[in-house]
Amino acid sequence: MSAALAGEFVDARLKTLEAHLQTLWLQAIAGNGACYAQVLHELSGLLRKFVQRRLHTSSQDTEDVVQDILLAIHQKRHTYQSDYPLTAWVYAIARYKVIDHLRARQRRADTQDLSDDESAPSLWSQDTHDIEDLLAHMLSSLSDKQRLTIEHTKLAGHSIAETAQLTGQSEAAVKANVHRGLKALVKKFGMHT
């Protein structure tokens, strides 16, 4: 009962908001500069909330998107006709711009990943003089236990039993650490097969 009442209340408020904004907008489009500034100002408040709910980013980022949307509203203002709700028009533009922004962000993140890969030393690059350096660099990213077991079994050529003796781990732990270490290396440096 109370939920229905609240729903009606929200509905009524939205309707008055729509009516208010549309009246302002139509006056603004007819050439009233003060109305235009006011309607853009009120819309920017609504848009800020809209964008914040969808992006979850810094306030500067949000503000950038809000300004983007305001600019789009301004540039495309001739596409609104008064026979349908202004808020529907505004939010459709906002949604379009937010999606645009998310795509751009994704693209930026992707290229950043790529450049990260390039900054890491590459097995295939000409200027890698010493392969040991590279290996040491890669192994240094592991925990001591994993690094030691891999060094013993894969580089020094010890058996699992010998490694277990040398490092003081059980054989099962050695096997597990080698396996985990190699997996971690592949995840960090490896080609995905």
Binding site: Y36, Q67, L70, A72, K76
Partner: protein
């Protein structure tokens, strides 16, 4: 930049610039339709028995259906080009008209004018006489009709996309596809003035293939050109 400063700047810009009207874009679209009509006259030729055709109800029915398709598709396109306008009911209408087109194209409507033939099945969309089609030329006819329709529709599609660039389609690919459909329907209307008797069922099929192809081209163009 502060948002309030941006608003002040936009307000100043709004007051200095008069509201825009896009009549010239409509004029260009109309001009390309006329251009396509001229292309049809020059390169394909009008049907020699056009005045006889106008006596046949099926001709008018076909034309009416195509014009309906045109009008509905344009209104879908128009709605897609304005942010926040619902398009769903019209899309259903469009689907109905499309299926009517397909049914009509595949049904043996009587299209006889003065020479009743017992052995010929008459196809309505293009107005067809299967006696003309040899088995070997079938694919060529299909290709010829389809590409002809596309060629005639292409200038109109470009003009429509150019017009839509001024609008604000929030679903660019769909807006482009609807523009493609408008162009192909217009092109089919024009072709109905040309293709009356000397063509084959495969030509009808070709027109349908052409009409299916244009929205695809339009969608690709839209994705590329209608972003803003």
């Amino acid at each position: 930049m502060k948002t309030d400063a941006l608003i002040a700047q936009l307000t100043a810009e709004m007051q200095s610039a008069p509201p825009r009207r896009a009549w010239h874009r409509w004029a260009v679209v109309a001009a390309t339709v006329l251009f396509s009509l001229w292309l049809l006259r020059t390169y394909w030729g009008m049907a020699p028995n056009l005045h006889q055709l106008t006596q046949v109800p099926a001709f008018w029915f076909k034309l009416l259906l195509l014009v309906c398709a045109c009008v509905t598709a344009s209104s879908v396109m128009w709605r897609l080009s304005q942010p926040g306008r619902p398009t769903k009911p019209l899309v259903w209408q469009l689907c109905m008209i499309l299926s009517a087109l397909v049914v009509m194209a595949c049904s043996p409507f009587v299209f006889d004018i003065d020479t009743p033939r017992v052995d010929s099945t008459r196809w309505a969309l293009a107005g067809v006489n299967p006696l003309h089609s040899g088995q070997g030329s079938a694919w060529r006819t299909l290709w010829w009709a389809g590409s002809g329709l596309c060629a005639l529709a292409m200038p109109m599609l470009l003009a429509l996309v150019w017009m839509l660039r001024d609008m604000a389609a929030t679903r660019p690919a769909w807006a482009g596809a609807s523009a493609g459909f408008v162009a192909s329907a217009l092109s089919a209307v024009l072709f109905s003035l040309h293709a009356t008797d000397p063509s084959s069922p495969f030509a009808t099929l070709g027109y349908l293939v052409g009409m299916a192809l244009m929205p695809l081209i339009g969608a690709v163009l839209g994705r590329w050109l209608l972003r803003w």
